[in-house]
Assembly symmetry: C2
Homo-oligomer: 299 residues x 2
């Protein structure tokens, strides 16, 4: 471990000169490593993965300069450590990072829930600078094979600073987001979690429940799947997500997710009640409001 330039300051405030350790080379971490290298955004990228074969493949693609299967070894020279594993693994790794992170290093993550992770970041030793992060992009496929250095292009990259996060660390986070083509947006962790529960976690739950509901229908009409067209495919797409990630997200963001689920159920009940009583004017208004809002948001 090298010493920071002076006590209480980050090792490296300039992304261009930084050694970045990306921990986890799946969809998000692989894409990030690739984006950093492709855009020559930093001095050096070190990948950390459980399997040697993942590191080999990332190196073959030119997405990392070096690799390690051991967290402490991988972050030993890092100015910036970015945890790109599933939320609960991030939390476990933060505790491991405490003694392992070089003094003065910045620790970020890419997890899709923030409060639980930011709480775990509070436990990092002084002299390590934490910052929560969440790029608003993804796809169902997991793993390095699905990674894409252009994944972040034009997407929001939420940054959730802690009280202890220095301004220079937040600036480094912004620089990182911009360097990979994303738009930084600073939010507190709680607000982030409430907001992603609405636009990300609830859609996942809806997609999963939709598939489960049609499974019930298929008991009587096994041919039902043969009629599934693009409408079903799109509405259920998020049900093809990675199981570990889904479980982590729902459990780590349990209360906000349950709140959105309750509202979703109320809106379903309201639509069903208008249809049940054949109240066409009411149903028309409920549908019209949703159609108008969807057009406004998604064009």
């Amino acid at each position: 471990m090298s010493e920071p330039p002076f006590a209480g300051a980050a090792r490296q405030a300039n992304l261009g000169d930084a050694c970045v350790a990306v921990v986890g080379l799946g969809l998000m971490g692989g894409s990030l490593a690739g984006a950093l290298k492709m855009r020559r955004a930093c001095r050096r990228v070190v990948g950390v993965a459980r399997r040697r074969s993942t590191l080999d493949e990332a190196q073959r693609r030119g997405w990392i300069d070096a690799g390690a299967t051991n967290l402490a070894a991988g972050v030993a020279d890092a100015d910036l450590v970015i945890l790109a594993t599933p939320p609960r693994v991030i939390i476990a790794q933060l505790d491991e990072l405490g003694p392992a992170a070089p003094a003065g290093c910045v620790v970020m993550d890419l997890g899709s829930v923030k409060s639980a992770i930011v709480q775990a970041m509070e436990r990092l030793p002084a002299g390590v600078y934490p910052l929560g992060g969440h790029p608003m992009c993804g796809k169902e496929q997991a793993g390095l094979e699905a990674a894409d250095p252009l994944l972040f292009e034009g997407r929001r990259f939420v940054l959730t600073p802690l009280e202890r996060t220095p301004a220079s660390t937040l600036a480094l986070g912004r620089a990182l987001a911009l360097a990979i083509g994303a738009q930084p947006l600073v939010l507190d962790a709680e607000t982030h979690d409430r907001m992603v529960a609405w636009v990300s976690h609830l859609p996942h739950l809806a997609a999963l429940a939709l598939v489960r509901a049609v499974m019930v229908g298929a008991r009587r009409d096994p041919q039902v799947w043969s009629l599934a067209a693009s409408g079903f495919r799109d509405t259920s797409r998020l049900a093809a997500s990675d199981l570990t990630m889904l479980l982590d997200i729902f459990i780590a963001n349990r209360e906000p997710v349950l709140a959105t689920l309750q509202t979703f159920q109320s809106e379903l009940t309201r639509l069903g009640a208008a249809l049940e009583r054949e109240d066409e004017p009411a149903l028309r208004q409920l549908l019209d409001e949703a159609i108008t809002q969807r057009r406004e948001v998604c064009g």
Copy 2:
């Protein structure tokens, strides 16, 4: 009106020699007319639309040979009439068609609900041959501008014969489906309606309720829409559908739709309950089953 070749037989059992009247030149009717002309599947296509400008545009594209703004005039020489208007308009037009359809002509429709339409078809006079139809494809955009002669390519085309439908009429329906690149599938109307409630109407309801739920979230966090990414966009895509069509579908297929809604809500409740009590093994199993099923169906 010309006489059929002999009493009780269709005017024209061969699609290639048929004059086809397509009533309604929106997304479905326009696409069908275009597909028939592009593939030279029939002798002649006559379009029926409310507005002269729609007929002009369809003619300019080469999708119809002639047009009429009056239903009776448009179907006067038809061997096959295909109603491609919203479900409740189809039902009204069937009653209008009774006295107007030439003896021996086949009457089909492309409506996305079948029981209510097939019931209205029962009222057609003897010597007119009805057959319900529903191509399983679509998009949110409505109107001739969104029409596409390749819309039916590789999609299921459900045919719902009535008891009175002669075998030759069903054969003509199959020929039509194959001629536009679709795969015919014969079902009774009730089974069709139950099945599309699961894979089409319920996804529409889920998408609409999802948008409405996030509207509630946006009251507290107006920035919530700015975090909506591809997951929200896809899950809510069906909420961008045409209002008239949605209302017609939900109301015409009310009971099956309400039944699917009830099951959907039960599955949401079950997911929510497992999350609420932090029962990770139960939650894992519920998610895993849905993920596995979705992969099996959609790849």
